[in-house]
């Protein structure tokens, strides 16, 4: 094993491909965090008064809170005054078409392989699915595509700052309803200083005609990104939403504290897929993104369904628990996750399924892959309220250990207050079986391909939940994150 591991680690030296920085002129808010910062952001966004009040309330609340320490993460204390909370590419006041977008930014997204130019997609392979993209560059949404086509279907797909201005009633109705302002330290911080993000509203009975996607990019140095996403699926609506993220390689740690709120009314379905590939730091754990994310879905309506799928390969620290509050009768929550940690990465991730509705069901499939000197924790909660009859949950957590220096942890909480519930939890921890490896190699695969095959097989249940374009990217990412780190 030892020698194989050595080869493996040599091969893993494959670098983070998305680590370049873009040199553009940017407007920063003054460094540090105070009420003035909050007012600055709000003013920059041209926000209505109620929004500023909402932010200030959150900020005052945040000052009284303490950072949570229950996660299995080793993080030096964060100096919140030593960061910029707002960075905006200096650009023309309004952009009439994509041609006017700063070519540097456009080039950045081209390098990342994100098709923000509509033509590129339109001219693509015939039959290729269209994906509408909202690109968020540091604190600002720089481009949202396919607006006209979506509007024809009645779908509202906007950056959240635009939505606050254009659809204040809709935003006000739901903002902070799923993740309340006082929810947790990082969510409260986000409420105070969130810069941009995406707002989606799918009207009653509409099946969103294309995949919606947001691409987040942290570019500026010393900048935190605080995005806020709100998706509301009205009765009988369906939407599939993808989210991707990258950041340049920098030596200092950068903060990313996002809040995602999903609301599904009667018979609505939201499929939310994430491929998280923030810069993970180098092999000695220098730099990388601190990723503190609060994601929660409210399955409010009867037979509503929310499905979270996540592939987590990046970030120095991941603290993320996409959850479902299943209030609706017969509502369904799903959570599929692959979390890969390598080098010095730390991930503490999982889900919460809160069953309040009768006959609500949830499925949790979590695959943790740890390599190098990393730590990978699954932390989850399944809770059944006394009034929730006939609840069904199945949880499976598998961990794969690829080195003898890493850790894999499983911390599931199960709290049941109704006897008709059927809750099952299974977990296993293992390394790659030498038999499997030997067999695959005896069939002519080299070691790397054999490992990739086995790891992909291990994660297959989750990967096949992803929309096709994403699945391909995710598989590639898995390969790059781990290439050769096994033996």
């Amino acid at each position: 094993m030892a020698t194989k591991n050595a080869e493996a680690h040599a091969a893993v030296a494959k670098k983070y491909e998305w680590g370049f920085a873009t040199d553009i002129e940017q407007d920063f808010a003054p460094k540090g965090l105070s009420e003035d910062t909050v007012r600055y952001i709000s003013a920059k966004k041209n926000e209505p008064e109620w929004m500023l009040d909402w932010r200030l309330k959150a900020f005052r609340l945040w000052q009284t809170m303490e950072a949570p320490d229950w996660a299995k993460l080793n993080i030096p204390s964060i100096d919140y005054q030593d960061a910029y909370y707002y960075a905006e590419p200096k650009a023309k006041a309004t952009i009439a078409s994509l041609d006017e977008l700063d070519p540097e930014i456009l080039r950045t997204y081209q390098k990342l392989g994100i098709p923000i130019e509509e033509q590129k997609v339109l001219a693509g392979v015939e039959g290729a699915r269209k994906v509408a993209v909202d690109a968020v560059f540091d604190s600002v949404s720089v481009a949202t595509t396919f607006r006209a086509e979506l509007e024809a279907a009645g779908v509202i797909f906007r950056s959240i700052s635009e939505a606050i201005r254009e659809y204040p009633d809709l935003v006000r109705k739901w903002l902070g309803k799923v993740v309340p302002q006082h929810d947790n330290y990082f969510a409260t911080l986000n409420c105070a200083v969130f810069s941009d993000g995406t707002f989606v509203y799918i009207p009653e009975g509409v099946r969103c005609p294309m995949e919606l996607s947001t691409y987040f990019r942290i570019n500026a140095e010393n900048t935190g990104q605080f995005e806020r996403t709100l998706i509301v699926a009205d009765k009988g609506a369906y939407v599939s939403y993808l989210e991707g993220c990258t950041a340049p390689m920098r030596d200092e740690n950068q903060l990313h504290a996002a809040v995602v709120e999903l609301v599904a009314l009667d018979d609505a379905e939201i499929k939310y897929s994430t491929v998280q590939n923030w810069y993970p730091g180098d092999e000695n754990g220098v730099g990388g993104i601190y990723n503190f994310v609060t994601k929660r879905a409210l399955c409010q309506g009867k037979r509503s369904k929310v499905s979270w799928t996540q592939v987590e390969t990046g970030s120095a620290v991941t603290w993320k628990y996409p959850s479902c509050v299943l209030n609706g009768e017969d509502s369904v929550g799903e959570f599929y996750s692959v979390a890969v940690t390598n080098n010095r990465q730390q991930a503490d991730t999982g889900t919460k399924m809160i069953h309040n509705g009768k006959g609500s069901r949830s499925t949790i499939v979590s695959k943790g892959i740890s390599a190098g000197r990393s730590d990978n924790t699954y932390r989850g909660l399944v809770k059944v309220a006394p009034g929730a009859e006939g609840v069904r949950n199945f949880t499976q957590c598998d961990s794969l250990l690829l080195s003898d220096q890493c850790g894999a942890h499983t911390v599931p909480y199960i709290e049941v207050r109704n006897p008709s519930a059927q809750i099952e939890h299974e977990a296993t921890t293992s390394k790659i079986s030498e038999d499997q490896l030997f067999y695959a190699m005896s069939r002519g695969l080299d070691q790397e391909a054999a490992v990739a095959l086995i790891v992909n097989g291990f994660a297959r249940e989750v990967l096949q939940q992803l929309p096709m374009e994403f699945a391909v990217e995710a598989q590639k990412l898995l390969g790059i994150s781990l290439e050769g780190s096994v033996g």
């Binding site: 229950w70 220096q405 499983t410 709290e415 006897p419």
Partner: protein
């Protein structure tokens, strides 16, 4: 006791702890001393009777047990129990008859430390029973040398109050520790355990917590594999009726070089009424890559199909329910090696089931 000294529910390890129950138990008015005789089983060997943590010499036969000043570690509850306690120390090869300890509480609070130290190849059995009312707090330290074997069975039968036990055990090379708990009284309880397993060691800890009324019982046990080739099993069952809460938190930790560890956890909860709560937390913390660790956890009610089948064979529903519940609990106390002890524990569990079902 100051409630301020207690940890808060905000701390992860105390999330489900009934800290209010501790204070309430400590404030219980004195009650008449219960007769301890029925709780001593018909077995040879030492018999110890502690009344409010003080040895009743007249009613005890110490055998190879001595009294000694014992340190109690730094656990928030366990550390209160330091001072004069009982000590079972066996030299290499020694084998002793079962040691029976009955703790009678008569209200208020009482604290007691114990130490069990077994030399190489020594073997011992210890049976402990808690009766009466009040807050009984214990700290037990176990140290097993190479190939030593200890079987410990502990039952909580207190009628009111709270029993809290803190176990700290070091299982030496190839040694074996089997601990079984049964909570079948009406008092609240908390079992705190930290077991460190040495090379090729074997540790088994588990039991059944049966709760009814407003009772809250919980276990928070952590098995740490510090050396290679160890094996551990944690098998816990919880049955919760009325408005009671049963919480099972069991953790397995595998240290970096503890390769070839085999750790297994099985936590299962059975809810008898919709007002009851079962909490489970089967935790794995693994730092070695060549290990086999698995856990399974389930919560639910009795299998409706099994119930229907039994009724179709002519067994009345209440009886079928009792049989299935009994089978559910049986797994966890079956591991008690001594037949007389096992039967006594099974009888206690049955008595509880009969009263509740």
């Amino acid at each position: 006791m100051s409630v301020l000294d207690l940890p808060s529910n905000r701390a992860e390890a105390w999330r489900w702890a009934d800290l209010g129950g501790l204070a309430a138990a400590a404030a219980l008015e004195p009650v008449a001393r219960a007769d301890a005789a029925p709780y001593f089983l018909d077995l040879p060997g030492a018999r110890l009777l502690f009344v409010d943590g003080v040895l009743d010499e007249g009613a005890s036969d110490l055998g190879s047990v001595t009294l000694a000043q014992l340190a109690a570690g730094d656990h928030p509850l366990g550390r209160r129990a330091g001072g004069l306690g009982w000590l079972l120390r066996l030299d290499g090869q020694a084998v002793t008859d079962p040691v029976q300890v009955v703790h009678v509480a008569t209200g208020r609070e009482n604290h007691l430390a114990a130490e069990i130290v077994l030399g190489e190849d020594a073997a011992a059995q210890v049976v402990e029973t808690y009766v009466g009312a009040g807050w009984s707090n214990r700290a037990t330290r176990v140290e097993l040398a190479r190939s030593a074997r200890l079987m410990r069975a502990v039952r909580f039968l207190q009628g009111a109050g709270f029993v809290s036990v803190r176990d700290e055990a070091a299982v030496g090379q190839g040694a074996s520790l089997v601990t079984t708990f049964l909570g079948a009284g009406h008092a609240g309880s908390r079992i705190d355990g930290q077991i460190v397993v040495g090379e090729g060691g074997y540790a088994e800890v588990g039991g059944a917590l049966l709760t009814a009324g407003e009772q809250k019982q919980e276990c928070a046990v952590r098995v740490r594999h510090a050396e290679p080739n160890g094996q551990s099993h944690q098998l816990w069952r919880a049955v919760a009726a009325d408005r009671s809460v049963a919480s099972l938190a069991a953790a397995v930790e595998v240290a970096r070089h503890a390769q070839k560890t085999d750790g297994e956890q099985s936590l299962r909860g059975l809810l008898l009424q919709r007002t009851a709560t079962v909490n489970l937390k089967p935790e794995l913390e693994i730092f070695a890559d060549d290990v086999k660790c698995a856990h399974g956890a389930t919560v639910g009610e009795l299998d409706a199909r099994a119930l229907f089948y039994m009724q179709s064979r002519g067994i009345p529903k209440p009886r079928a329910q009792a049989m299935l519940t009994r089978a559910f609990v049986a797994d966890s106390i079956e591991r008690i090696g001594n037949e007389a002890v096992r039967e006594a524990f099974a009888a206690d569990a049955d008595a509880w089931l009969e009263a509740v079902l």
